[in-house]
Symmetry: C2
Subunit: 199 residues, 2 copies
Amino acid sequence: MPDYAAPIERLIEELKHLPGIGQKTAQRLAFHLLKVAPEDALALADAIRDAKEKIRQCSVCHNITDADPCLYCTGANRSRKTICVIEEPHNMLAIERTRTYSGLYRVLGGALSPLQGRGPEQLKIKSLIERLKGGAVEEIIIATNPTAEGEATAVYLSKLLKPLGVRVTRIGVGIPVGADLEYADEVTMLKAMEGRREL
Amino acid sequence: MPDYAAPIERLIEELKHLPGIGQKTAQRLAFHLLKVAPEDALALADAIRDAKEKIRQCSVCHNITDADPCLYCTGANRSRKTICVIEEPHNMLAIERTRTYSGLYRVLGGALSPLQGRGPEQLKIKSLIERLKGGAVEEIIIATNPTAEGEATAVYLSKLLKPLGVRVTRIGVGIPVGADLEYADEVTMLKAMEGRREL
């Protein structure tokens, strides 16, 4: 006898495809969905369908959006002099939350990763260079993650972009605000020392 | 400007309704769904819809099933002499995995919990008593969770069922197999001492 009726097994299987969701969590979520009112469960099904139908990539910055070009690319109050380069669309939110950046964005779609077979051709780099030829952009802020892949991407981009006469900067890496030095890993501590500034 | 385009916000909101899924996880799941092939994301939406349409409660044991009565209640190789009482349908799987139990089940739909306003009327107890009147059942195994609510439910059921001339048993509570006594909490240790057997 199978563990559960076929539609439940199928739901659990589909939930397991989500990142970070294993067998136990998938079971818990499936039983929750079976327990709630039909309209609540169907609201999730509809939201998935709706998002997949309406959301596409912005043809300018490769952000995900329901309007092309996206709200950032067309925003009247966004400066066209700065482009912030990020790995994934959701990285944008972390920067927007600072409420200090009002330039444009560029989503790479990941970072260079030879192990995962992701080279420069797989990232949205060519069209970025095309865009710089217009000459309006003065600074490129590279905000890829401070991981091995993100750093490699930053160095690669920097070498590629500097000859084009644009200022290339990298976000600061170091001890996060509110953290204790005692618990900082050695690489972060090293970066923090390297990145020290005059007081 | 909202954080994300409306369909993404809606998807994140719906995902947040799932148990144990907060803002960050919902965002991660939503971006995963937006990234995968449309057919993979829609497979999840369809699985939810399908499960909600096809799955109902077994009218005999209150298990969730796509056939009524369920496969356990109609199984030719299931003994009709024993009923195992559990809180939720998914508890059944833990017992089935032992491959030693071949009796019937009865899902209570929770445990007694005055704090949550769940009294005996909210649990499927009345119909259980009705069923015992047939006289075919010889033993009721109470497999509610060894929590305060589960124990209270077990005691309540035992007092209710014993006068009907049926044998009422409770699953063993103690140190789990493979665990270390050093890490056992005092209540579990107490229960393990109380539940000791002759060697």
